[in-house]
Symmetry: C2
Subunit: 165 residues, 2 copies
């Protein structure tokens, strides 16, 4: 909390401190298995190393031609969204003095593989719908406010605008 408040105050005084660059490296292992490494980022006008590198494995289940050595890429995407909604609610609740006792969420998304496989041009490649259920243990009077706080989530607000692919 103290760190969060001093970060906010620092960025208010010097907006340049809020500009971040996040990075990952990915390496194909074989078949549908690949591994991402996350080692550091740029923020607060400096390069910052994580305390330890994080490795994230992606694979597909056997029915999708993999060996199930990790969640698949679209499950990783739902994870990113779930994690971000949680962090956004918790952080924004904290700075507003709203007490949260417990917070859980479930996310389910629909994908029709005809899109990814190129079998139909009418079928989207990505998720066609994503449903989010958030279960929160907190003062009942704060429920509507808490729900709105999830909307600060960077991942939720991320219509990919990619350059350089």
């Amino acid at each position: 909390m103290d760190v969060l408040e001093s970060t906010i105050s620092a960025i208010q005084h010097d907006p340049e401190l809020g500009k971040c660059k996040f990075r990952v490296s990915n390496k194909w292992v074989g078949a549908n298995h690949n591994c991402t490494t996350v080692t550091g980022f740029y923020g607060a006008k400096q390069e910052i190393a994580h305390r330890q590198p994080f490795e994230l494995h992606a694979d597909e289940p056997p029915i999708l031609a993999g060996e199930d050595q990790g969640a698949n890429p679209v499950e990783h995407l739902l994870n990113a969204l779930a994690a971000c909604l949680t962090t956004s609610m918790v952080d924004h609740a904290a700075v507003r003095g709203i007490h949260i006792e417990e917070l859980e969420s479930e996310i389910e998304g629909d994908i029709d593989l005809q899109g990814f496989l190129g079998l139909s041009k009418e079928v989207p490649k990505g998720f066609t719908d994503i449903r989010v259920k958030i279960k929160v243990k907190a003062d009942v009077d704060n429920m509507e406010r808490l729900k709105k706080l999830a909307e600060y989530s960077p991942v939720y607000n991320n219509p990919f605008s990619l350059s350089d692919l």
Copy 2:
């Protein structure tokens, strides 16, 4: 490869087999640390369990009020994108008989924390730019075709369309 080709052929004959529902559950651990569990999904007209549940931890680095017990949510998002670009290139190359020897990628995305923190309404909350570098060891004649194959990626093609938040 055999599995991939029989999956494609099965979905061509019965498109219903391609309809999938992917799911994650997330639980707040404390401060900025939360944990996602991925246990199974719906596909090929049935519920399918992963060989083992996958746990994915998200946290923030100390400078962003966390204890660095996992990649942060936006790093998880870049991981999902990287993993998906790799899988999409590898799978689509395989069914086209294009040999890939090695495949690596680096992704970097810009975020200005003024958006997430609600300090400025003009600053987007999500990434403002994402740069992708793909390094592939394969026949030089296939490079342009391989680059196009990345565009089948479901995560890359995912302007979130969420319902029920």
